[in-house]
């Protein structure tokens, strides 16, 4: 079994995992909104920019983006001391999430009936107000379930930062395995106990995220119900 110190190491790693997830999700959400709305712009140029971002952010894969952000980007920009593993992880996972999230936002907005847009134009709302007060509140209801799933994928994706030596839950588990194998502890835990515990912690995190978004779904759905057609 795991000793107190070993469990504590895993929990400290979990805290890093949570931080990477939260900041990546914030960056990913901002990018999703920007590029999702841009993808529906009337300007062909803006649509092309959004399309390119979505294809590259998704196509490059989280792991390739992460490694590139950690080991190539800082040197290309000449700022290796600024972009550490934590920042590289947040940037890469956030950009990757934004690619998927932009499609969620675009899909949500597209599914709001056209009459809502037409009515807002008839009421003389400008494009910004139309989006903020009429379209997005209704689109959000449809976006919540896929957005929640995307959050779980991002949380699972944070485990990749272990490969760029950021001491997250996966990294700590690997570390404990190496230490146990080297006989550092008097009572080495089995590798099954180490990785089993890590898997259970990840599972609890993903269930918490799922619960949270189910709660949000209930609230948002109830609040805007009257506005849907």
């Amino acid at each position: 079994m795991l000793s107190g110190n070993q469990l504590q190491a895993l929990l400290e790693g979990t805290w890093i995992t949570v931080q990477v997830f939260v900041f990546a999700a914030i960056l990913g959400t901002v990018l999703s909104l920007i590029f999702g709305v841009m993808g529906l712009s009337e300007s062909r140029l803006l649509r092309a920019i959004s399309r390119t971002y979505v294809e590259v952010a998704r196509g490059a894969s989280a792991i390739v983006l992460l490694i590139w952000a950690a080991f190539a980007l800082p040197i290309l920009l000449g700022i290796p001391q600024v972009i550490g593993p934590l920042l590289a992880g947040i940037i890469a996972l956030g950009i990757n999430m934004g690619g998927y999230g932009a499609e969620v936002v675009r899909g949500g907005i597209l599914s709001v009936p056209r009459g809502q847009t037409e009515a807002s134009i008839a009421l003389n709302l400008n494009a910004g107000d139309r989006l903020r007060h009429v379209i997005l509140p209704q689109a959000v209801v449809l976006m919540v379930p896929p957005y929640g799933n995307l959050n779980i994928e991002v949380m699972k994706g944070t485990s990749l930062v272990a490969l760029i030596a950021l001491a997250d839950l996966t990294f700590e588990a690997q570390n404990l395995r190496v230490q146990a194998g080297g006989g550092v502890f008097e009572d080495p835990p089995s590798t099954a106990a180490i990785f089993g515990t890590a898997l259970v912690i990840y599972f609890i995190l993903s269930q918490l995220i799922a619960l949270f978004y189910r709660w949000v779904e209930g609230r948002v759905g109830g609040r805007w119900h009257g506005a849907r057609t």
Binding site: S61, W68, I75, L163, T170, R177, T191, F203
Partner: protein, 230 residues
């Protein structure tokens, strides 16, 4: 792998000669990644169907644990699952090589996802087909293999295509257990030459060259065959 010797850091930030020099090795690594993906999706497609059928079982002692296993696999990271297969199973007397661990890990992870698509496909077969099979007195095995699955599986194919592309994007994780593939090759070039910019950039571009057209092709198939995302 061929050893690439380079006078590190005396060159600029980006060295074209070096990038061209390592290109063949990285292409070979990418080919390994593609192979792992193709083998992995084969397991994922077969195991996923088995999981979907077990989950639909009328016996709760079978369907509930299956549902729990699917939920657990979907709720935990592939990388940790790979570590589990590669480092934990040997203590139970099951030793699997790194590449085989990657293929099995990809297969099991994505089986949990494909099983949900199969389930949706099976549930979309109209009720009348089941009723007609009962009326014709077909045994359950015949009903499944000749009536239900032939109608369910074609509707699942586009979803499987999406998982193929998704799996390709996850396959470089095999580097975490030294399982070969594009990332492991790029990593070893970096550790031998102390230059990371060229191998990782070449890897990224080649990766996009494969994954973006593949994703576009799957989406084209989706539209062509009128599949609706659920």
């Amino acid at each position: 792998m061929r050893v690439v010797v380079a006078q590190a850091s005396q060159r600029g930030v980006w060295d074209w000669d070096f990038a061209l020099e390592i290109l063949p090795d990285i292409v070979r690594g990418l080919w390994q990644t593609v192979q792992a993906t193709l083998l992995g999706i084969t397991i994922g497609m077969i195991l996923g169907l088995v999981l979907a059928l077990l989950r639909r079982s009328g016996v709760r002692l079978i369907s509930w644990p299956t549902a729990a296993v699917i939920e657990f696999i979907r709720g935990t990271p592939l990388l940790v699952q790979l570590f589990f297969i590669f480092f934990v199973l040997p203590s139970f007397g099951i030793t699997i090589g790194a590449f085989a661990s990657l293929v099995i890990g990809l297969g099991i992870h994505y089986a949990a996802y494909t099983s949900e698509s199969y389930r949706a496909g099976i549930e979309n077969v109209v009720r009348g087909q089941w009723e007609a099979s009962v009326a014709l007195n077909l045994p359950p095995a015949t009903t499944w293999t000749r009536i239900i699955l032939p109608q369910a599986i074609p509707t699942v194919i586009p979803a499987l295509g999406n998982y193929l592309v998704a799996m390709f994007k996850d396959a470089p994780l095999g580097a975490g257990i030294s399982a070969g593939g594009v990332l492991l090759v790029a990593n070893s070039i970096r550790s031998q030459t102390l230059r990371g910019v060229e191998p990782y950039t070449v890897m990224g571009i080649l990766f996009l060259v494969v994954s973006v057209p593949a994703a576009l092709f799957v989406r084209y198939l989706e539209r062509k065959y009128g599949y609706e995302r659920t």
